[in-house]
């Protein structure tokens, strides 16, 4: 909010010259739901602080109702997104990479604010762009790789193919601001799912700025919804929500992992946990990550016995 963002002190303004230092216009970091940028309905905010003690921004502390609204938006977007041609989903992911490339400097600046150094920040942004390209390529290829024609003993044509699960709730890696979030989100939407993503609590800046990239890259509203806030607060709602088909949790908190697993037992939700994945390495990208939020559907199609029916072709 405008009033409390004055708390964020910036360049030292005292003393050096006769012209008064310009008052910096600070960005308000809002959340991203259904292609819109609302504030949290709860009216709650928090101010993350970096290692140097500088207050980063006034950031929305999302509530369960923000999450609920985001799930409604994601569910509404699912039909359209999952029925798009796989190639078109690839084009849109590629477009996201293009837009990210164009705003590279802004992301590097934000990463520097959030305790990164220039070399590491540049590497992180470049990797995030490359990762989007990587999954853009996979959108129309993973189906062939993971489907099968199955040999069966009866007169059926039997085949299995992966299909998107639906709405996926994601708790992004907490130690990176951009790369982790992109690495977890990209395979989910590449596979035709929609998602609600909770950014890193202590490093939330890139999550919100990335939402602006999404908003200008042909991605339909609601396919990706981005919240900022506390994993501890929102995790139980993610696990309980009947309209969420899967939860991806990135982190080492074993109590939270257990909570997710227990609460999702009643509603048969799939839980995926990334606790040791190093997103900067090759292990941070894989077509198997797409399969984490796919269901294998098998079809039994009766085959007519042409000769037995006396047919003549």
């Amino acid at each position: 909010m405008a009033t409390s963002s004055k708390n964020i002190t910036t360049a030292p303004s005292n003393g050096t010259g006769t012209t008064p230092a310009r008052l910096e216009v600070l960005k308000t970091y809002k959340i991203y739901i259904g292609g819109q940028f609302p504030r949290t309905e709860s009216g709650r905010y928090y101010i993350p602080v970096n290692a140097a003690g500088r207050q980063l921004a006034n950031v929305c502390l999302s509530s369960r109702k923000d999450f609920r609204e985001a799930v409604v938006a994601a569910r509404a977007a699912f039909g359209g997104w999952s029925s798009r041609a796989a190639f078109n989903r690839g084009q849109i992911l590629y477009r996201m990479a293009e837009m990210l490339e164009g705003r590279k400097t802004q992301f590097i600046e934000e990463l520097l604010l959030q305790d990164s150094n220039r070399r590491a920040a540049e590497k992180e942004v470049n990797l995030a762009i490359d990762r989007l390209i990587y999954y853009a390529g996979w959108t129309d290829k993973y189906q062939q790789l993971f489907s099968a024609v199955n040999p069966v003993a009866s007169s059926h044509f039997n085949f299995s193919a992966p299909e998107p699960m639906g709405v996926v709730a994601i708790i992004a890696p907490q130690d990176t601001s951009l790369l982790g979030l992109v690495s977890v989100m990209a395979p989910v939407i590449a596979g035709g799912n929609t998602c609600v993503l909770l950014g890193a609590e202590k490093k939330p800046l890139c999550a919100v700025t990335f939402a602006e990239v999404l908003n200008s890259s042909d991605l339909p509203g609601g396919v990706v919804n981005i919240l900022t806030g506390q994993p501890d607060e929102l995790a139980p709602w993610m696990a309980d929500h009947m309209d969420v088909n899967a939860v991806i949790y990135c982190g080492q908190d074993t109590a939270l992992q257990q909570l997710l697993r227990e609460r999702s037992a009643g509603n048969l939700k799939r839980i995926t946990i990334h606790d040791v994945t190093d997103w900067e390495e090759n292990e941070g990208q894989s077509p198997y990550f797409i399969m984490d939020t796919q269901e294998i559907k098998t079809t039994w199609h009766p085959v007519e016995n042409i000769a037995g029916a006396g047919g003549g072709y």
Binding site: R68, V71, D240, H241, M242, D243
Partner: protein
Amino acid sequence: MPATGSSRSSSSKTEPRLSFSLSPHIDQVGVEERASRFTTRSIKKEAKQNGLRLVLNMIDLTTLEGKDSEGKVKQLCYKAMHPHDALPGLPTVAAVCVYPSLVRTARQALGNSGIKVASVATAFPSGQAPRDIKLRDTRYAVNEGADEIDMVISRGKFHAGEYNFVFDEIAAIKEACGEARLKVILETGELGTYDKVRRASDIAMHAGADFIKTSTGKIQPAATMPVTLVMLEAIRDYYFKTGRMVGMKPAGGISKSKLALHYLVMVKEVLGEAWLSNEWFRFGASSLANDVLMQLVKEQTGIYQSSNYFSVD
């Protein structure tokens, strides 16, 4: 009532003659401002649960498609009697609303459940038919067992200023209804201004309507809160003038429980408690029922629900 003073006094000298061109003018900005205030009331916990049950009990569960079949109507009637058996103790809906040719099916399916059968009639939804056909349409529906008739007014005649034609037509249909209660659909989306909505409401009530109803559901915009407020105020003024209660039925576009609760607030604050039952207030809706059920289950379990677990209607 802000009717123009001079013309009012001239008519009050003689017996109370009706001139519908004297219906009060509506302050558009004021009505919209007032209507938006109703959406700021906070209704939580028990009040919300009671409100939701009331909403459910006020629904006219409706199917008005060209593709309606006996099977579809039977299914709808089952839903009307058993909204959600997983949640015992729920009220039923108020009525099932169908085309005349399916009234008999609905009547048989509902048996002695106490749920009313409402039928649209009079060449619904356009109303473009000669009067004798409209009368036969009405009598047919009543003979088939309809408890309530939803008629449409002749909007073309209304716009042409032939208010007497519209009045006579409603009066004739009312007579044809016999014991059945008559709901008069104004189709506010085609009337254009609040002034005309008010005038059509006055005509309908004076002609004998038991209910006035906003829309057919086939035209956008359908029911809105400002339009409903104009009609509620017409009902109030008519009640003060004649002592006869007239019911209200907003229809079309009300699919969320929160919005339905806003409508109840509006009814209570404009007309009072006496109208807060399904004898005097109805929602014409089909998807609203499931949203109300999902909210009720949410209130009981604390878990957000998915439409996958509620019956398709």
